[in-house]
Every structure is written in C-alpha cells, then in structure tokens.
C-alpha cells in the first residue's frame, strides 16, 4: 500500500479556499507541541496569542495598525508573484519609501509649511519605493539577473542608508544622540481616525488599495495580462502580452505600495524616522500574500491574521515570558504549511494498492 499524489482534472476551488485554513490548523498543532517543549502551558499560550488580543479595543486597533503595512505590501507582492516576478525586497522598498517621504518632513521641520506636506510625502515615498524596486526589475529584463537575489540584497543597502541618515545628517540635534530624527510636525503626520486611539488614515488607504487590486485583477485586461503571463508564459506571448513590460510594471507598483506603507508607518504610529521602524513587514508580507492566495480579499484577511500574531506574540512575551522570536518561528511554519497545502489544489492524495498477483507454480 502506498500514498501517492494524483493530479486533478481541474483545480479544486474548495481546496483553494480551505487550504489556508488547513495550514493554520497544522501550524497551531505544531505550535502546541512547541509550547509544550518550551515548558509553557499550550492552552494558555494559544489563548495569549489568538484570543487575548481580540478582547480589548486597544489591541484590536493595534491589529489594524499592524495589518495596514502588511496588507499594502502584500497586495503589491501578489501582483509580482502572479506575473512570475519574484520581488523579495519589499522590506528595502518599504525603508526607501520611509526615507524618501521623511526627507520632506525633515526639511520642512519647524517651518510654517502648509497642508501640502503630508500628500507630498506620500507621493515621494511611493516614487522612491517604485524607483528602488525598478533596479532589480531592470537588471532582470536587461541582463537576466535573478530578481530574487538582487531585490533581497538591496534590502541591506536600504537598511544601511537609513541607518546612516538618522545617525548622521538627519539626527535630531536635541535627541540626546539617539539615532532618530526629530518628531514630525503635525502637518507631516498621518491623522488618527479616532481621537486618542491608534487607528489612522493609513488603514483606509490600505482598504482602498485592496479594492483597487480586486478590480484590477478581476475586471481589467491589465489584470488578466498579469495572471496569464504568470500562469502560461508562452500562451501569454501568443496573446500578445510582453512579460518584460509586466516585470517592470509589477515591480514598480509593488515598490510604490511598499514605499507608501513605509512612510505611513513612519509618519503614523512611529512619528519619526529611526532604525528598526519595521519588524520585518516586507518579509512577513510574503507570507501574507501566499496565505491570502494572492487574492486581494484573501490578503486582507491574512494580513489581519498575521498582525494578530505580532500582537499576540507581544502579549505572550509579557504574560508568559515566551520569547518574541517564537512569533517568527510561527510565521515561518505557517508559510511552510501554506505552500505544502497548496499542492492539494492541483493534486489529491490517494491510497494505492499495487496489484501484483504472480501466478503460482511457474517458478
């Protein structure tokens, strides 16, 4: 008897919907075992991770705040991945967007610049992220360089550039030598949605991005082009679609969205530019994109779920002294299971009983 994977005649839409849930279930089982090994009560730990954050308004808002950059970045990444363009460097594009937008905030600091400052910051951040993403895209199209490597390596360049700026030219003179810019002026800050709360305008922008992506992919010829180039490159060329143009376009769009997420994070919850503005949003967004089935609505749900693990991880650390790194372990295991379960969309498990009857008496 053996277990084999058998190809399905047509992709299973049921499994496509259920597969992320199976992956989450398997992840939770694995985490339960992991908590037990760590000597923590698994039920309490799971409660701290998944239930506690949902019970108070502050945590709920915080989930939305954390989900905002994740969703925005993941939407951009999903366009790349659908088109078979592997942008792994969203973290770098996020940081460059934050830097580019902060430039205006730093330069207008203390002046009486008007309400144009924040819109200008958003535009510049998007442009910065897009241009930064174009570097690996153009290297791929012109020289055949692997965009996976180049985009990833540029993350470290962006990281060090930000580090240099806040330790050098942009450092707050009254900041006791901390590597940070001064707090941004109110005109350079993303407004809050609820007075005294945490929820800010960025979450609305993220929702608009989700809606726009859903329309793009579902209803427009450009979205069709993106999907077909990724799904069947030769058929796409036969259809008259240019895959190189799409690499450029999807990288630019995903860079712009990552850059936008970067400035919204800096000009919103953080309030100033400093190292460590991202707890790995650009990388976690890769998980969000796949967990969300590269589908805009799915990404919104997946983004909220991953944000929950960030908040839950913090609470588990405070309440149960579970190291924060366990959150990253959790996210890694989740991505592993998501990709594994995806094979069930096109394949199904089958038990095979080999029929090897050998006639008796012939030997």
């Amino acid at each position: 008897m053996q277990l084999v994977l058998e190809k399905r005649a047509e992709r299973s839409n049921t499994i496509a919907l259920v597969s992320p849930l199976i992956a989450i279930g398997l992840t939770i089982i694995t985490m339960t075992i992991l908590f037990a090994i760590l000597g923590k009560n698994p039920l309490l730990a799971l409660h701290a991770y998944f239930i506690a954050p949902l019970t108070d308004s502050y945590s709920l808002q915080e989930i939305a705040v954390k989900a905002t950059p994740l969703v925005m970045i993941a939407i951009g990444l999903s366009l790349c991945y659908l088109a078979n363009a592997w942008n792994i460097g969203a973290e770098g594009q996020f940081l460059i967007g934050a830097v580019a937008g902060s430039w205006i905030a730093v330069k207008t600091q203390g002046t009486d610049a008007g309400s144009w400052v924040l819109p200008a910051m958003l535009v510049l951040a998007a442009a910065g992220g897009a241009l930064y993403a174009l570097i690996p895209a153009i290297c791929k199209v012109k020289f055949g360089a692997s965009e996976i490597l180049t985009s990833l390596m540029l993350v470290y360049v962006a990281d060090l550039l930000l580090d240099y700026l806040v330790r050098g030219p942009w450092r707050d003179p009254h900041g006791f030598n901390f590597p940070t810019t001064a707090e941004f002026d109110p005109v350079a800050t993303v407004p809050l949605l609820i007075e005294g709360g945490r929820l800010h305008l960025g979450s609305i922008i993220a929702l608009l991005v989700v809606a726009a992506a859903a329309i793009l992919l579902g209803r427009t010829i450009k979205g069709f082009e993106i999907r077909v180039v990724g799904a069947a490159p030769r058929a796409a060329r036969f259809g008259g679609f240019n895959s190189n143009q799409l690499v450029i376009l999807t990288f630019a769009v995903s860079g712009a969205l990552a850059g936008l997420a970067g400035i919204i994070e800096v000009a919103g919850p953080v309030g100033h530019l400093q190292p460590g503005i991202s707890p790995g949003y650009g990388f976690t967004a890769i998980i969000v994109a796949f967990l969300g089935r590269l589908n805009p609505l799915g990404i919104l749900i997946a983004g909220l779920f991953l944000a929950l693990t960030f908040i839950g991880g913090e609470q588990a650390q405070i309440a149960m002294k579970i190291p924060l790194d366990v959150t990253k372990v959790f996210q890694g295991i989740l991505l592993f299971y998501v990709l594994a379960c995806d094979s069930l969309i096109l394949y199904r498990f089958k038990l095979v009983f080999p029929n090897r009857q050998v006639a008796s008496g012939t030997h």
């Binding site: 058998e6 069709f224 077909v228 799904a231 069947a232 058929a235 259809g239």
Partner: protein
C-alpha cells in the same frame, strides 16, 4: 525453463495450434482514478508477425504498450511471455527478457554523439569500443546507416529514429514495439523502414506496430488489433479489410466526409511573404532562408515537411511572436507587417492557431472564456476602456461550442479539462469566429480524434470558401491532399515552390521532404542549351 526452449519457435505464421504466443495479455486492465484506460484487453502476439495496434487518440494504445514494456503496472489482468506469467518491474527487465521499444518521441541528447547516446541506453557492461563496433555492424546489417561519431543535433529526424531502432536492435529483442514510427518520416524513408521491418519479421521476431495510417497497416501488417475507448473492438487481418472498414472500427461509426465547395474563387493576395530570412533564436534552431510565397483569398496553401525543418520558426515569424527587421517580409492585407506585434497583426485581420494546444494556444489552467480573451482582446470588442466584457467572452465560448460541437462538462471549464479534439475545436473555432482575412494554422488535427479532425478540416475549407486565405502546416500528407489547393514543402529552412495539389504526388512531395530538387533534368537541359 520450459519457456526458454521455445525461444526459436519455428511455427510459421497462422499455424499456432498447440503453441503459446510469444506475448499475451489476459484481461489486462489499467485504471486511472475513475477512468478505465484499458478495459480487460486480450491480445496475442506470435513470432514472425507484424501486429498492428490501431485506435484513435485516447483509445488506450499507449497505456497497453506501456504496460507491456513495464513502464506502468496493470491494475488487473496478466501478461504472459512465452507462456509464462510475468510481472515486469520496469523497462530494463522488459529489455532483458527481449522486449524492445522505439518511442514516438525520441530520448536523445543533442550534444552527444550517436555512439554515446546508444551507450547511455544500454544496460550491458561491454566497453565503449566494442559497443561502437557492434553499433556499426548492426546498423550495416539492417541497412540503417549511421555514423557513430556524429553529434545528434546534426542529424535529420529520420536519422535520429534510426539511432533509436538500432539501439533497440542491439539488445537482440524477440519482440519490438514501434510507436507511430512513420509520423516523422518522408514516404521514401517510410518505405526503407518497411524493408527493415520485413527483415526483422523474417528473422523470427515479432513486431507490434502502432499507427493510425491505415494504408500503411494494410500493406505491412499481418494482424491488426483495434482498440476503442479502452476496449478491444476486434482482431482482424488488415489485408482483408478496407481502409474505410478499419476506420469504422476505430471510430465506431461513419466519419463525415470533408467536402470542398465547388466554384471557390481566389481573390486578391491577402498574405504575402517576400524573401523572409531569420536567424534561429535557439542554439540548434533552424534558420529561415529566403522564404517567399503569395496566398490569395479563397485559397488554402499547405506546407508539408518533416518536423523540425523550420515550420515552428515560420509560424513564429508569421504570427509576430518573432519580429523581422524588414517590415516588407510579411505583408498582411496589403500592409507591411514584418515589424508588427502579434496583436497588431490580429488587428489587420490575421488569426493564428499554433501546434501546441496547451501552454501555447491556451493557458491550460484558465477558463475557456479567459482563453477566448487571450487572442480576442485585440479586435473582438471584448475589452472596453481596459475593462473586460465578461459577457462577450462567454458569448464567444457559447458560439464556438455551438458552431463546432465542443463537448465539455460545464459551460466554462478550464482549458486543460477538455479532451484534445474538443480543445482543438474550441481553439480553431475561437479564431474562425473572428472572421479572419488570413488564418495561419499549424498541425490542425494533430492528436485529434477522427470526428473532430473532420469538423476542423471542414471549417478550414468553409473559411476559404468565405474568402479568407488559409495557410496550413501539417505533417499529414493525406490531410493536405484533402484540403489544400497547393502544397509547398519545407526543408532545412527553405520552402519549395508550391505544387498544385493534383500534381503533388507522394513521390514528388517525398523527394522535396528529403531535400531533393524536382527538376534536375530541366536544370541540366538549361545548362546544355
């Protein structure tokens, strides 16, 4: 032990009484999920017999021979070799017992020499030098000339097939399976192959010959087993049957005859190719050399030739998947289009059907409506201001379904879920419904069942009758004879001058397919004068 004594069975053909066949399948069944690819098949193969295995695509021929060659395990039933039940662990066990196979698709390494390729396929322990010597000897004995030192990429398709046959013969098989061996050969090369096969038969070997060319089977084979839908329909003597009666058994009914409308008129030139030359885009690709032809409305031009002589490259150059620097090389509807993209050429009224259905003609995992959009977005009113008109794409699917009898499980399934014939009807239908001025189609009925093939050929004829210019590339000479007005032949990237179909005998076409010129006498005459 008993079985081995029958190795050199001298029983003449037709006098098997009391003896057991060389190979026998009893109730052989192979199940894939719910699908019965082979349903309880019984077949007897005797020494000194060329046994044809006939059937349409999907009838279960490949499954049956794969089971006999040890590539797959039957779900039920048994295989007997010289009277003894055997379970084959894999092809190497089949080979060691004396079963050889020549596949339709060759498994050769382009950058290795003939001898190296043969060595890779043999299980033996002899030295490379001995093996090379034996290779030369076997190829000489059977009249299959091969230079062991040449690299495979330099060889023609016919020569490549010779490597596969010699490789199989070097194992001294008692039973040889050949899968569609003449599909890639010129008529003359096929004749040479038949001589070799007759000789193998005379030596006492058995041959299982898979084909769908019925005239060939009638000429060559002693027995024919016909499969349909996974079941054995009959075993008969093909010489006592007619091609039509064999076809009826394969299809299970009459095949609709394709009819050209009388009084088809040719109009203005709609597709003109002027001195088109194009370097290959791949290392071992074919260079197109000075190709010129003119195709008028109302006319079907056939392009014959052995695969790999530049047909794919010509298709890419005509469709615009590859662009030419000189716009004047390809003229569509009077407009120089050599530099235009495939979308722009579609807007000029051209339509294209490539050879590969899945992955080239369609995106396999996308719905039919999306695949309608794939080629229809340019000029069929399916897109308004960048937005897709889903109703219009679905309407194309419905119209193609109705007009060309596309059979499918639901209204808008994924392309990959359709059978080859139905998907091809959809693809051809999708293009014809756009009312193209020019249709370029490559291998329109390759791997398609006879019913679908008839529908597609009729559709091409009707399109020409309606005034379109149709260019058909095919390796099936019968198909070209049936629908084309003129036939040209591609060889090594050159295109011969077209012959009127009435003049294009198999002999003439075969010579052109092999690279010979048709007018040596006239040329000599011209020099003499």
């Amino acid at each position: 032990m008993q079985a081995h004594q029958r190795m050199l069975d001298p029983t003449p053909n037709g006098l098997h009484s009391g003896e057991s066949p060389l190979l026998q399948t009893l109730g052989l069944t192979k199940r894939y999920g719910d699908f019965l690819a082979n349903d309880s098949i019984h077949i007897d193969i005797w020494p000194k017999q060329i046994h044809a295995l006939l059937g349409e695509n999907g009838a279960g021929k490949s499954t049956l021979v794969k089971a006999i060659y040890g590539l797959i395990q039957p779900s039920a039933g048994e295989i007997r070799w010289q009277g003894q039940t055997i379970v084959l662990s894999g092809p190497s066990e089949a080979r060691s017992r004396g079963i050889g196979m020549v596949f339709q698709h060759f498994s050769l390494f382009d950058n290795l020499t003939v001898a190296e390729n043969v060595a890779l396929g043999l299980d033996g322990k002899e030295s490379f030098k001995d093996m090379s010597a034996r290779l030369e000897q076997v190829s000489k004995t059977y009249g299959l000339p091969l230079d062991p030192k040449r690299e495979v990429w330099q060889l023609s398709v016919g020569e490549r097939q010779r490597i596969e046959i010699v490789r199989a013969l070097m194992q001294d098989p008692k039973f040889l399976i050949l899968d569609e061996p003449t599909a890639v050969l010129t008529p003359q090369e096929a004749d040479q192959l038949f001589v070799v096969l007759e000789r193998l038969k005379a030596e006492g070997r058995a041959i299982l010959y898979i084909s769908h060319k019925l005239e060939e089977v009638k000429r060559l084979c002693d027995t024919a087993t016909i499969l349909r839908g996974g079941k054995k329909v009959d075993t008969c003597n093909p010489r006592l049957e007619t091609a039509a009666s064999l076809a009826r058994m394969m299809v299970g009914g009459e095949i609709k005859e394709v009819k050209a409308a009388a009084g088809r008129k040719t109009t203005v030139p709609r597709l003109v190719v002027n001195d088109l030359s194009l370097a290959p885009s791949e290392p071992h690709g074919v260079r197109l050399e000075h190709i010129s032809f003119e195709l008028k409305g109302g006319e079907i031009l056939g392009i014959a030739g052995v695969a790999g002589n530049g047909q794919d490259e010509l298709f890419a150059a005509l469709s615009g998947e590859r662009l030419s620097k000189d716009p004047g090389t390809v003229v569509i509807e009077g407009i120089a289009a050599g530099h235009l993209s495939i979308t722009q050429r579609r807007k000029l009224g051209a339509a294209f059907v490539p050879e590969e259905r899945l992955g080239h003609g369609t995106a396999p995992r996308m719905k039919l409506s999306e695949n309608a959009l794939l080629t229809g977005h340019a000029a069929s009113g399916m897109v308004h201001r960048g937005f897709i008109d889903t109703a219009a794409t679905l309407k194309t699917v419905d119209r193609a379904t109705e007009t060309f009898d596309v059979r499918k499980a639901k209204r808008d399934p994924e392309a990959a879920s359709l059978s080859g014939g139905n998907l091809q009807k959809f693809i051809v239908g999708r293009e014809i419904l756009r009312n193209p001025a020019v249709l370029v189609v490559s291998q329109p009925t390759w791997g398609v069942d006879a019913g679908a093939a008839a529908v597609i050929r009729q559709a091409l004829l009707d399109l020409a009758t309606a005034g379109a210019a149709v260019l058909v590339t095919s390796q099936d000479l019968d198909e070209l004879a049936e629908i084309a007005d003129r036939i040209a032949v591609m060889f090594h990237g050159h295109l011969s001058a077209p012959l009127a179909t009435a003049d294009a005998t198999r002999e003439k076409l075969g010579l052109l397919m092999g690279g010979s010129s048709l007018e040596p006498k006239e040329a000599a005459h011209a020099v003499g004068a």
